[in-house]
């Protein structure tokens, strides 16, 4: 007999053989999901990486089950969108639940387990992060834990692939037992006696019971905190945490800019300019064709020249290095610590510390950053963070192009553009905060243990990210490049440039051909910077051009995701807002710059 009123739900897949993968945020569900279904979900060491659910197939005992990666929940009391989704899944007749417990946060995990058990669905539990618990001197008696919970518990270290095979076997076993009610489950026994179903059980009694179970099953040997845990604590204290965070950020930047620049100028550019381009020049000059076609292929803006120069030499090194560095930061648990340390600053800007994680994602690409704002508790917060990302946070492709453009002139110029971007960041968050109705909830965040990313998982994530970039960005980049070649080499650009001359040359003070930036910038962010590279700009022109392209339209994919995640009105407002403010700000800076040049 089922304990719960079950209502059909249109938003939940109706498939017959569902197995739910559940657990608290940041317990590693996504790692289990990837391992069991071979679908790679990116996981990180902070709460809320999986903001919507994923589904994959998992054959067991010759039956095809679908494994569902349910968003992480601390409880089943519908305190957030993610928990509502989880509750709906629980009520949709799943065959079994694969519950992931966090060995390093056993109290919270057991409390969630007790809530899950009330639903009277067969459960197998994995005791994940058992290595971290061991490091902290906790010895957990699995046999006793199984007895207290009434469900099988398998210790695992998912990122190292430990215990996964046993877990799968156990899952197959309880599914083979068949029968909606597993006689081993304490939930069933408890259910027979429960009078008014789980609603009656208070949160407190679950916590009390969880702590009781812990006192039975866990022995705390007093080990000295490991160096990693000590470092994790130090990173969390205002002193020396803030200093350490700044050092971490500077080192990250140094690695990305320094190594990226070396890769670009020492290896990739020479390869393109002395190897690839001459090769294609030779090939194409050997074939008889009209001059226009030749120019489109390999002229100054020829497809085979700029696609290699711009994409391979200017963008790729930075994308690769960013993913190397950022994946490490994500997996280590440093980011939530920064969210705590800088909450006071973010709060003054009208958001909360957790938004730092979304914004940092935006330094890679705005699309995942905007998707990640789903975890925000209010729409206002989502919109503010999204605006910040669209107006003032360059994606890594664009950053790469900006570094190439500006560092050729001076690293100070890079700093000047960075500071201008930071000012736009502050202005836009204050402005949207004042404009939008509603409120932003204060920070409530779990601070995970500091981890050294596991090598295999880390590299897998890195490769998935770079592959994703190639698959998603390559197409639009090539379209932009072909578009550029056609515009420049057919003479169409001259007409457009003449038309835009008052704006581009008069107001912004840039060469006429810079209108190319404004056109290509709609397609991809870095494409608004790339054309400026070969224009022999003055310092002021470079600065103005960089600022315009930074604030300018955040690319077609972002437009698409804005329309999808919010609506067309939001997408159009952001595009209109970015175009207007980019041109407005660029013009003002140009005129101020000229005025200063005149005076001094």
């Amino acid at each position: 007999m089922a304990c719960h009123e079950v209502t059909e739900d249109s938003k939940i897949p109706a498939g017959e053989n569902k197995i739910l993968l559940m657990g608290a945020p940041n317990v590693g569900k996504s790692v289990f999901f990837s391992a069991f279904t071979n679908i790679h979900v990116v996981s990180s060491n902070y709460a809320g990486t999986t903001v919507s659910y994923m589904k994959g197939s998992l054959p067991l005992n010759g039956v095809n089950y679908s494994l569902i990666d349910v968003p992480g929940t601390y409880s089943l009391t519908a305190t957030s969108e993610a928990e509502e989704v989880a509750i709906r899944f629980m009520s949709s007749h799943p065959k079994a639940i694969l519950l992931i417990l966090n060995a390093a946060d056993l109290a919270g995990s057991i409390k969630l387990a007790l809530e899950v058990l009330e639903y009277n669905i067969p459960v197998v539990a994995a005791l994940n992060l058992s290595d971290v618990a061991k490091r902290q001197g906790k010895s957990i008696n699995i046999k006793l834990l199984e007895k207290e919970l009434g469900i099988p518990v398998i210790p695992t270290v998912a990122v190292k692939n430990q215990g996964l095979k046993e877990l799968k076997e156990k899952l197959a076993e309880i599914l083979a037992d068949n029968g909606s009610c597993n006689p081993n489950a304490a939930g069933c026994a408890a259910c027979a006696g429960c009078s008014g179903c789980p609603k009656g059980t208070s949160v407190l009694s679950h916590w009390e019971r969880a702590n009781e179970i812990i006192s039975i099953c866990v022995k705390d040997t007093n080990v000295a905190p490991s160096r990693l845990d000590k470092f994790g604590d130090a990173l969390l204290r205002p002193w020396p945490g803030i200093l350490l965070s700044i050092v971490v950020i500077l080192i990250s930047l140094g690695v990305i800019v320094g190594a990226g620049k070396s890769l670009e100028s020492l290896i990739l550019l020479p390869l393109v300019e002395e190897g690839i381009v001459p090769l294609f020049e030779k090939i194409f000059s050997g074939i008889a064709m009209p001059e226009v076609l030749y120019n489109i292929l390999i002229g100054q803006y020829g497809v085979f020249r700029i696609s290699f120069e711009w994409i391979l030499a200017l963008v790729m090194p930075y994308v690769i290095l960013f993913q190397l560095v950022f994946s490490f930061l994500e997996d280590s648990g440093i980011l939530p610590r920064m969210a705590v340390l800088f909450d006071n600053v973010m709060r003054k800007l009208g958001v909360q510390g957790g938004s730092i994680i979304n914004i940092m994602l935006g330094l890679g690409c705005a699309v995942p950053a905007i998707i990640s704002t789903r975890a925000a508790t209010t729409r206002k917060e989502r919109l503010i963070v999204t605006s910040i990302v669209c107006f003032s946070v360059p994606c890594i492709s664009q950053t790469g192009a900006l570094i190439s453009l500006l560092s050729a002139y001076s690293y100070w110029m890079l700093l000047a553009v960075f500071l201008t971007g930071a000012s736009v960041f502050i202005l836009i968050s204050i402005f949207t905060g004042k404009m939008l109705k509603g409120k932003v909830d204060p920070l409530v965040i779990e601070i995970p243990n500091l981890l050294i990313p596991e090598r295999k998982a880390y590299f897998k994530k890195f490769f998935v990210r770079v592959k994703q970039f190639l698959m998603e960005a390559e197409g639009p980049m090539l379209i932009a490049v072909i578009f550029a070649a056609l515009l420049a080499e057919t003479g169409a650009l001259v007409g457009i440039s003449n038309f835009l001359k008052p704006l581009v040359s008069g107001w912004l003070g840039l060469p006429q051909e810079a209108s190319m930036s404004l056109i290509l910038g709609v397609i991809r962010r870095e494409m608004s910077v790339a054309p400026l590279l070969s224009m022999n700009l003055t310092g002021l022109q470079m600065y103005v051009g960089a600022v315009v392209s930074l604030v300018y339209v955040p690319c077609l994919s972002v437009f698409g995701i804005l329309a999808k995640e919010f609506n067309l009105k939001v997408a159009l407002s952001i595009v209109a807002g970015t175009v207007f403010s980019a041109l407005f700000l660029g013009g003002i800076l140009n005129h101020i710059g000229r005025f200063l040049q005149m005076v001094f």
Binding site: T77, D105, L106, L204, R237, V340, N344, G353, E446
Partner: protein, 73 residues
């Protein structure tokens, strides 16, 4: 005597006596009667960090000020 979590001394243990109506608090582990240790207060409007039995969390100032605690014996 109860005081608010934001202002109490750090490094000590407290029992929560009253929480504001923020649902996430109880599911993450802050509710009436629970024992917590205050770890840090972050100045200039920053949050507080506390540890529960096995978990560390940070709570923004605006919520922490509304959480009442009394010293644990």
């Amino acid at each position: 005597m109860s005081e608010n979590l934001y202002d109490v001394e750090k490094g000590k243990e407290y029992i929560v006596t009253e929480t504001p109506d923020v649902k996430l608090l109880s599911s993450i582990g802050i509710f009436k009667g629970v024992k917590i240790k205050k770890e840090n207060t972050y100045r200039f409007g920053g949050p507080v960090s506390v540890s529960l039995s096995t978990r560390k969390i940070a709570i923004g100032k605006d919520i922490a000020e509304k959480i009442r605690v009394k010293g644990a014996l």
